[in-house]
Symmetry: C2
Subunit: 132 residues, 2 copies
DNA sequence: CACCTTTTTAGAATCATTATAAAGTAGATC
DNA sequence: GATCTACTTTATAATGATTCTAAAAAGGTG
């Protein structure tokens, strides 16, 4: 029920596929990071059936637009998404290609002094790359 | 001469193509941001002749590895490189898809409190996304 | 010059992502 | 619940950046 309302309130029809993806993404204790490919695997394993890749892309992008997911800026050959949409940062382990959350309190306040005319700040993201 | 030495000192043979790319990347007052595609265009325009795309990729990656370039972490369909390898940060204008330098002094010190066992910090990069 | 290694190159291959357009479904209206 | 319309899903093709391949070219050393 909760996801039906969530989707309806965002102007997204609560289709079977979207509800299944919601279940996988949001029906867990902890937030997590994923790629489209990893999500596809998870759907196959947990739901049994398969959802078309195009639908997965569509849904993830729709959720991102609605603010239910965010994309994490890293140089990778594929896009990483985060179910934690609160203001926080990341470690990126270059060797394992894994992301680790960095709480805001682990970084401290960041005050951007420079201003750009006519533009406003949408987000401030810190990426800390790790090596061995 | 200076680029010949620079390349030799890094264990890279100073080939015609590498020297031409050095000229374009480092023979200018200001540092700048570029994509492979933009670099390719610039080579065609400034040098006249064409360097194979594969060579441009190879060279840029070699220079990155040697620390003469760095890649900027943003979510884009293509990789952005920076000729400024000093410790600094970026604005990313989401509308224009343009990068703007953010000096360290415009951000202030960032102290990462969290430690990850067995890993050390290679870089700390701040990306500030801008919207209208 | 002769030799060996590194580099360049065109073109093919790869792989994530996006577009297409046909079939299916949700939700409103009667 | 039948009907209609707009929104979704889907398989598949298309795109586009990047990487691979393997043959030709060039650098460097003796």
């Amino acid at each position: 029920m909760k996801y039906i309302d969530k989707l309806r309130n965002s102007g997204l029809r609560p289709t079977k596929q979207r509800l299944q993806i919601c279940k996988i993404l949001f029906d867990v204790e902890k937030t997590f990071h994923f790629t489209i490919n990893e999500l596809d695997q998870k759907i196959k394993k947990q739901i049994g059936n398969k959802i078309s890749l195009a639908t997965i892309y569509n849904t993830v992008h729709a959720f991102e637009k609605k603010g239910y997911l965010k994309q994490i800026p890293i140089n990778s050959n594929q896009a990483y998404f985060d179910t934690n949409v609160t203001d926080h940062h990341h470690f990126y382990d270059l060797k394992d290609e894994k992301l680790i959350d960095l709480e805001n309190s682990d970084v401290g306040p960041i005050n951007i002094l420079k201003k750009i005319n006519g533009k406003k700040i949408k987000s401030v993201e810190v990426l800390v790359k790790l090596e061995d």
